[in-house]
């Protein structure tokens, strides 16, 4: 019997080792250790043994069973490992193939510029004011010191709907409306972005529709130097810390004094095609709010003063991104728009 067990053990261990896969191995387990297997049979036959032989035999059976179990487990680990290796090998992929695309859209470059400027001034304590694009002559011109027949109206060729209604030629009427809402009490600190319209034939540098962003600060003792400091901060944040600004006297009916504001060119003054060799790029119009404008908007011009500035997003975008034709902004060619999906 002892010998029979030994033989069983050898046989089982050999078969376990020879198993080709987990199923064969399981068959070995069932064959030798199952309820109907020979080891169990031996245990069942123990009843016929004498009392002295029974514990001895029991111990021997356990040894055999453990030996077989161990052989099977060892084989199982190795077979499982093989199986996983095989699976992994089969599952191998070419990681250089392209990934599944995630659709990427993006903002229009004019929106990018607008929001960038908005955020920059919000950081300096400004709020964003908006207003209608179809305006009354009064808000667009008269309240801005441009009475009917004023020669400076020629500077802005206007789309009229009726003699009293027009497509706004600048976002300044929003400034007027905001000041009126303040009922003569400062401070006012706003920027006004939006679409504006002029009677221009569309070409590489003109567009009958374009965008403007204007700023207005009204308070007690607002100085020209405050305008200069504000625009200097703007230029440095928008175009880079090395940039400087230069004010040149100019004329707008709604400001006095009025200035054009140049920003130093990125060529650093060496002269390039963008600044046409001057080292400076014209970017803004600005000035101290004309007392007539303050008074018409309900502010006492002996107590209050203010500054205002305005710029065109198209121009800024053209400078910033090197766009050479203003019509690109309105053609909506995806090959153009998609270039602005990238985070800067």
């Amino acid at each position: 019997m002892e010998e029979q067990l030994k033989q069983l053990q050898d046989e089982a261990v050999m078969k376990a080792a020879a198993a080709q896969d987990l199923k064969e191995l399981n068959d070995v387990r069932v064959a030798y250790l199952g309820k109907k297997g020979p080891v169990t049979e031996v245990l069942k036959g123990m009843g016929r043994l004498s009392a002295e032989e029974r514990p001895k035999m029991g111990a021997l059976v356990n040894v055999v069973r453990e030996a077989i179990t161990k052989a099977i487990e060892t084989k199982q680990v190795s077979l499982e490992s093989e199986a996983i290796q095989k699976q992994l090998a089969e599952e191998s992929i070419d990681v250089t193939l392209p990934g599944r695309p995630v659709k990427l859209g993006g903002p229009h470059p004019l929106t990018r510029v607008t929001e960038e400027i908005e955020d920059l001034f919000i950081g300096m304590g400004y709020t964003v004011a908006e207003g209608p694009e179809v305006e009354q002559d009064y808000y667009n011109f008269e309240a801005l010191n441009l009475p009917k027949g004023h020669p400076a109206r020629d500077m802005q060729d206007t789309f009229y709907l009726t003699p009293e209604l027009l497509m706004r030629t600048h976002t300044s009427p929003v400034q007027v409306r905001t000041m009126l809402k303040h009922e003569g009490k400062g401070p006012v600190k706003i920027i006004c972005p939006g679409k504006v319209y002029r009677r221009d034939s569309d070409d590489a540098t003109h567009s009958h529709q374009f965008n403007q962003i204007e700023g207005l600060v009204v308070g007690e003792n607002i100085r020209m130097s405050d305008l200069k400091g504000t625009l200097d901060a703007f230029a440095k944040k928008m175009f880079g810390p090395d940039r400087e600004i230069r004010l040149r006297p100019s004329f707008f009916p709604f400001t006095e004094p009025s200035v054009e504001v140049d920003v130093s060119c990125m060529c650093g003054g060496k002269g390039c095609s963008i600044c046409k060799g001057t080292g400076w790029i014209e970017v803004l119009g600005a000035g101290m709010v004309h007392p007539n404008v303050l008074e018409m908007a309900g502010f006492d011009s002996t107590v209050y003063s203010g500054f205002a500035f305005g710029m065109g997003q198209e121009r800024i975008a053209m400078l910033k991104y090197g766009v050479d034709d203003i019509r690109h902004f309105y053609t909506n060619d995806l090959r153009f728009l998609q270039q602005f999906s990238v985070h800067e």
Partner: protein, 804 residues
């Protein structure tokens, strides 16, 4: 305004300033110099020549063979193609080796077998635009009128060695529309004196008032009219220096009398007109308003029909000039003119603008009157012209002026305190410095304590209020010297309004979902104005559109988005996803501001998602757009308030379009572009949406508050229902929701089937239902009870059966 450096140097010492330096200083002080042209810099080797002989070229009909003395021992032979070349002329010769504008080099050449050693030049070959050439030389070579010497520098003789500064003048600086005005500006910048002409014509003969009488019948339009009479003039060319300076200033020379009026116009900024006194016939000048419909032939031989808002100069019977704009053909100076009447007047800007606008006649004269001339120069300019006519047209100036009206406005006085000046500018100027600036401007000042009072000369009509003084100080003190500061006082928190923030959220959402933002035009054609509009009204029209394409205000963003998609599709970019936020305009009646509503619209067409090497391709469809809209609503916290209802608006596919409702009110549309419209623009299946963004953003106010995560497991049940094909999923969903009560937390369609395995006219819709009780673990029995209720309700309200 073109300013000749040579001419300017007559009035102010600029010898130590190069033209470029001067230009930069003028620009920085307030008048932009757009360019500095130095014609001679592009040319060399051009001398005066004397044509000693001319004969026909032996081998060419149109060429002449000339022997030209160029100041050397031997004359040179030059072949010339100009018709007007002849012996005895003094001409400009580009010698062999010379360079003409455009880097055109003159070489020795053989023309039809004859040697040519240079070229005889026309004025346009010397860089003077042909529209400025005197008429007799416009078609051929130029002849020097005065004594010149062969061999001398022709460019100097022609004032081509001048520098011409092009000023770009803002409307307030019409004072710089004259050489004297520019001289004052330059003198102020450089801190120098101005030397002005002091005209004092030699008078002779009878008083001018015997030759002409003047009456003004419209004194408001013409407060002052001064005339002088010059008799026995000899019409001929004006001196070369005058002709060339005029050309440098952009004025075409004609004859001595006309050139003198133009010269004085440029010098003083006071427009003058020269009449042929004898052609006035009546010996009388009457200034009056034109009659409505009055006919008048201007000196350009065009017949004009006048109206009562225009002013005419008449001889008492008929018009002889359109005041301030153009003279008449009937009284124009011509080659036979002997006696001249010089008109120097002050005309109101508006009356001149009326006429120049009505007849499209913008002249050097009208431009100046429109902006307002200096009343103090009216008389001096008249005297100056008379003096020059005596000198250069050989005339006799009759004694005295004939004056009608009176206009001598007092110079304005404007005051400002030093304190206000400094607080407006942010500077710390002293009174002495401020006084110095005004003295450079030649303004008289008076200082009392802290206040300075400036007497503003009439030439500077733009200065009327204290702020104007601030500007004069700032620009001459220099903006570079103003410090950099930031506004002081109360600091305000900046920021976007909730509405503006919401707009950005929607934009970022759509961009994240794969849309590119488009910006299209607000102005459109009549046909497109109301196309796809959620609310159609009579479109708002422009009064004077520039084109039919941009004549109306849009009522929908969609037409131009369709156009943009078609544009891309036609350029091999067939997969398009564009959105736009912008205003549309709704007519509220004539003379009422249209209602502007902010809309969100988009278009998708072509492939929505693809992964090529895995063979995955998903075309955009209705549900792509719907999913995008639902996502936007979810982002704004409006999911439960949005619903969709089948709709058939114009322009859309009638079976694939829905009205979008918000709180049961229409708020937009989504659907397929009608295939026949898509075909028109060569688009494949395209899906559109437009939403009232303003309504959604004004409603989107989410107060975020945490809801506890359920601690107990949920139980899911799937049901497949058989219903009539016409039953909409939304109806079933509503029934399920109502019957499911609070335990039913989620419901979604996971399968729809209609086909062979279904009875005709029936479809199967399968829902997955999720039940949760936040307070305890649900039992199967509890769920079954609710579920039975759901099934019963479906059976009752939608005749829905469980699919076998």
């Amino acid at each position: 305004m073109f300013v000749s450096y040579k001419w300017l140097s007559q009035y102010v010492d600029i010898a130590d300033q190069t033209p470029e330096e001067l230009a930069e200083k003028i620009t920085r002080a307030g008048i932009e110099v757009e360019g500095v042209e130095m014609p001679a810099a592009q040319m060399k080797g051009i001398v005066v020549g004397y044509v000693k002989s001319r004969e026909q070229h032996p081998n060419a009909d149109k060429l002449s063979k000339c022997l030209v003395d160029v100041g050397e021992e031997e004359p040179v032979q030059i072949i010339c193609g100009a018709k007007n070349v002849d012996a005895g002329q003094y001409v400009a010769v580009a010698r062999t080796g010379a360079v003409l504008p455009g880097n055109f080099k003159i070489k020795r050449a053989k023309l039809r077998g004859e040697e040519s050693n240079g070229m005889i030049c026309s004025l346009s070959e010397l860089g003077i635009e042909s529209r400025l050439n005197p008429k007799e030389y416009a078609e051929g070579i130029f002849n020097f009128p005065n004594d010149v010497t062969p061999g001398e520098d022709a460019l100097a003789a022609l004032n081509r060695d001048d520098a011409i500064l092009e000023l770009s003048l803002t409307p307030n600086r019409s004072d710089a529309l004259s050489m004297m005005g520019v001289a004052y500006e330059v003198a102020a910048i450089l801190g120098r004196d101005v030397k002005l002409p002091e005209p004092n014509p030699n008078e002779a003969g009878e008083p001018a008032s015997e030759a002409i009488q003047i009456r003004i019948d419209a004194p408001e339009d013409n407060p002052l009219y001064i005339a002088r009479v010059v008799k026995n003039v000899k019409i001929g060319p004006s001196p070369l220096w005058m002709q060339t300076l005029l050309m440098n200033a952009g004025v075409r020379p004609h004859n001595n009398v006309v050139d003198i009026t133009n010269y004085v116009l440029m010098e003083y900024g006071q427009p003058l007109h020269a009449f042929d006194l004898d052609r006035i016939r009546t010996g009388e000048i009457v200034v009056r308003r034109a009659e409505e419909g009055e006919k008048f032939v201007t000196l350009d031989d065009a017949e004009r029909t006048l109206s009562a808002d225009q002013l005419v100069i008449t001889n008492g019977k008929e018009a002889v000039a359109l005041a301030g704009v153009m003279g008449g053909a009937n009284s124009e100076v011509n080659d036979h003119t002997v006696n001249v009447l010089i008109e120097s007047a002050y005309f109101d800007g508006q009356i001149v603008r009326n006429a120049s606008k009505a007849h499209g006649l913008r002249s050097e004269a009208s431009a100046r009157f429109e902006k307002g001339v200096d009343p103090s120069r009216v008389q001096a300019a008249c005297d100056r012209a008379a003096e020059l006519m005596a000198e250069y047209a050989g005339g006799t100036v009759l004694s005295g002026r004939v004056v009608a009206g009176e206009y001598a406005p007092e110079p304005k006085k404007v005051s400002i305190t030093l304190d206000r000046l400094n607080t407006r500018l942010g500077t710390e100027l002293q009174m002495g410095g401020v006084e110095d600036i005004f003295s450079r401007l030649k303004f008289e000042t008076e200082t009392k304590n802290d206040e300075i009072t400036v007497t503003v000369p009439t030439r500077r009509g733009d200065i009327t209020i204290p702020e104007d003084l601030t500007e004069e100080v700032a620009r001459l003190y220099g903006y570079d010297h103003i410090p950099l500061t930031l506004p002081e006082g109360e600091s305000l928190p900046g920021g976007l309004s909730p509405y503006q923030l919401g707009r950005r959220v929607v934009r970022r959402y759509l961009e994240g979902a794969g849309f590119n933002q488009a910006v299209t035009y607000s102005l459109t054609s009549e046909k497109r104005a109301a196309q796809f509009a959620l609310e159609v009204r009579e479109p708002v029209a422009l009064a004077m559109p520039m084109s039919e394409e941009r004549a109306y205000l849009r009522e929908s963003l969609l037409p131009h988005l369709v156009e943009a998609a078609a544009y891309n599709s036609a350029r091999q970019m067939g997969s398009v996803a564009l959105y736009e936020t912008g205003s549309i305009y709704l007519n509220e009646g004539k003379n009422v501001q249209p209602k502007e509503e902010e809309r969100l619209a988009g278009i998708i067409t072509g492939i929505w998602q693809e992964h090529l090497w895995q063979g995955e391709k998903k075309a955009a469809d209705f549900f792509t757009v719907k999913g995008v809209i639902e996502g936007a609503a979810a982002r704004l916290g409006l999911t439960d308030r949005l619903s969709f209802q089948k709709a058939t608006p114009e322009g859309f596919h009638p079976g694939r379009t829905a009205a979008v409702l918000f709180d049961e009110q229409p708020v937009g549309v989504i659907g397929q572009l009608h295939p026949s419209l898509a075909k028109e623009v060569d688009l494949k299946e395209a899906y559109l949406f437009e939403l009232k963004l303003d309504v959604l953003l004004n409603a989107a106010r989410v107060d975020l508050a945490y809801t506890p995560i359920p601690r107990f497991p949920s139980i899911s049940r799937d049901i497949a229902l058989v219903v009539d094909s016409t039953v909409e999923a939304a109806l079933l969903e509503t029934i399920i929701k109502e019957a499911g009560g609070s335990l039913l937390t989620n419901i979604h369609v996971f399968d729809v089937y209609e086909g062979d395995r279904m009875e005709a006219g029936k479809k199967s819709v399968a829902f997955a239902l999720t039940y949760v009780n936040p307070d305890k673990t649900l039992t199967d029995d509890e769920v079954t009870a609710v579920h039975e209720k759901v099934l019963a309700a479906l059976k009752e309200k939608a005749n829905a059966e469980l699919r076998a």
